[in-house]
Symmetry: C2
Subunit: 398 residues, 2 copies
């Protein structure tokens, strides 16, 4: 009899995967994924980079590197983040094997079994699974259109003992809710948590993908504000601005947290893939990243607009949503009591999939939302697929 650890009992496979295994239609349209479209990867640029590598650089790509990252990439990424106003000089950067690993390492650094952590409802499923892996007590704070409900945050803090170990949040083009946090809400969060000495994990992987330049000023990160008296652990990723297959992310954290996280990373995978780091460094250092981000931003904007148009044309009036202003996702609100799982089963019959709301509910219950992604389907497919989504909703709810 194999005797597993207690923490493993907390981990579950996601409903979407279980349901997808039932899906047999050959040309399934997927609004489920959170990945870039395959056709958007900068293959020519990667070819140019690969073919320009010296033998010495290729040797570095094949060799172990330092646990915290290759010096070249730390330098170029530091410049990239510094130019966005992030406090790269007063904090330390660690290259991680995707930003999920950064979140996982922070979870391991802070959490003992049963420790409370503050999370948004809804929240990024990957972070929830990292926190569950350390048997966290997920204390939920609902999300409004402009960010965390501050009144509810205060109430949770009053009623939670011991004090939560950190708050995890995602400021821009939230996964799954699609929202941008207002400056006011971010300021209030800092004030509330600073008094309590509760660190913030700020997970920002979509902010380069804005559709409207006028939104940029209000997307300022708490890490950029660099507020005194509060530890902000900033995490980010190359997955949305280069390619998730490289498995590269980062964390920018205060020195004391850096030292612990380095030791944890050393025990997890020793170092992040050097081959990916060599490519990512050149991608930033040679300036390709600016042109590429501008290009995919335009394409996601086109897809987002097509999705908004289709949704407005097809959805029953009892389904509401905020128009996405960037990122990858639209978050549809169904009437109270509706069950997105029933709609998903019907949608699969029609050849289209999305992700149910309860997947992102830390309590795994609230299911009257649907996450419909526009990142990985072209405009034509969006126009074909969204009417099927609307049909599935009507079949179940009308």
């Amino acid at each position: 009899m194999t005797r597993f650890s207690n923490s493993v009992a907390n981990l579950r496979s996601s409903e979407i995967r279980d349901l997808m295994s039932l899906a047999t239609a050959p040309n399934m349209i997927s609004f489920a994924g959170g990945m870039p479209g395959n056709e958007l990867f900068p293959l020519e640029t990667i070819d140019t980079i690969y073919n320009s590598l010296t033998d010495k650089e290729k040797q570095v790509a094949m060799q172990y590197g330092p646990t915290t990252g290759l010096p070249n990439l730390l330098e170029s990424l530091s410049d990239y983040l510094g130019a966005k106003g992030l406090p790269v000089k007063s904090n330390r950067l660690i290259i991680t094997t995707g930003s999920l690993q950064a979140i996982h390492i922070l979870a391991k650094a802070f959490l003992d079994p049963g420790d409370p952590v503050l999370v948004e409802t809804p929240s990024f499923i990957g972070a929830l699974s990292a926190f569950r892996a350390y048997q966290a007590n997920l204390v939920t704070v609902p999300l409004n259109g402009d960010g965390l409900d501050i009144g509810q945050l205060k109430k949770r803090l009053e009623n939670t003992s011991p004090k939560p170990k950190f708050l995890y949040y995602s400021p821009n083009f939230h996964n799954p809710a699609g929202i941008i946090y207002s400056e006011e809400v971010k300021r209030q969060m800092v004030d509330v948590l600073k008094d309590q000495e509760i660190p913030i994990i700020e997970d920002d992987v979509y902010s380069d993908l804005w559709f409207h330049e006028e939104d940029v000023p209000k997307m300022q990160l708490i890490k950029t504000m660099d507020p005194e008296g509060i530890d902000v652990c900033f995490t980010g990723s190359f997955s949305k601005i280069l390619g998730p297959g490289l498995r590269l992310g980062w964390m920018l954290v205060p020195e004391s947290i850096y030292r612990k996280c380095e030791l944890i990373k050393q025990s997890i995978d020793a170092c992040s893939p050097s081959i990916s780091q060599v490519i990512a460094d050149k991608f930033i250092r040679e300036g390709h990243i600016h042109q590429y981000v501008a290009q995919v931003r335009d394409e996601y904007k086109r897809r987002g607009a097509a999705m908004i148009e289709s949704l407005e044309a097809c959805l029953p009036e009892y389904v509401t949503f905020e128009k996405p202003r960037g990122g990858f996702y639209t978050w549809l609100r169904l009437p109270e009591g509706a069950d997105a799982t029933e709609i998903l089963k019907k949608a699969i019959e029609k050849g289209v999939v999305f992700v149910t709301g309860k997947t992102f509910d830390p309590d795994g219950i609230k299911n009257n939302h649907m996450r419909v992604s526009f990142c990985n389907t072209d405009v034509e497919t969006i126009k074909r697929g969204i009417p099927l989504i609307a049909e599935a909703i009507r079949d179940i709810l009308d």
Copy 2:
């Protein structure tokens, strides 16, 4: 005040790194590392592979893959391991971000704080750090020239309560001890542990690097014996037979363990680097691996022979060692009570480094050994460096 988790307190940075930061000589000769020589990587083959990739394959390389690995690599690696006699059909394979991640995942799957685990003295430092990260109680069993001391293993089992969660061991060209386990010892281990229902983690990353073909039959893995009634978790790596910078390893485990490990990996980094997996798949599938392994095996054999020759010529007679028959390491035995750290400090003054014995002692105490690697230094450098090592020993111990 940042409040870290209890498990983090267990993690320490290694002495070698702390000492190395003191080393300032510009042309330091390193017998410390456990990495292949940079000049040995198959750069031309990697170029050929990269340039033969279709756009579709490059897209796969840039995209997320399944948590357990890209289907192509799972297939080709399965064939590769199956040809070695590993039970790939009755077990499940997971591609991991280096074999250290495989060990880390297994530690997480099995360990609650304080759980005992059986480890060799000396033992692989990476595994020890993964077990410490889960607050394991490291129960040590001494290593003889033919493997674990079975009498001591039985004694530890009698005296350890609760029952150890698993035994971790490394069968071939042990890191750091350099030994090959005998078939007899492996059979006895199975008998002892099967009775107690204690799983084995069998970590085998060097076995392709034998110097004498006649050793191959006795290097049979416990996983290959596929003994009934005992869970054997086999781990391996591309680091020594292709390149550690790819960060690719694997585990081959029974179905029930596979399911838990998949969920854990999902929470750690979602999937291993696709770009590395695409390259590794071609490297195996197109047969390059056989030629390459034969080539590096020859080179390591030359380096190992040069090291043996230099050591025999220079070492004082009170330092003894087993001649390495493969792998990366020579393990020098100093007189009882000698302190390898003192020798290391002296060696650094002379421009040469190695790793102290206590680094590999699970208790971090026993220090009358030195690990001297021959993997990452060419024959000429070995001939220059070993006399300096011998000088440092004499300076301290004579």
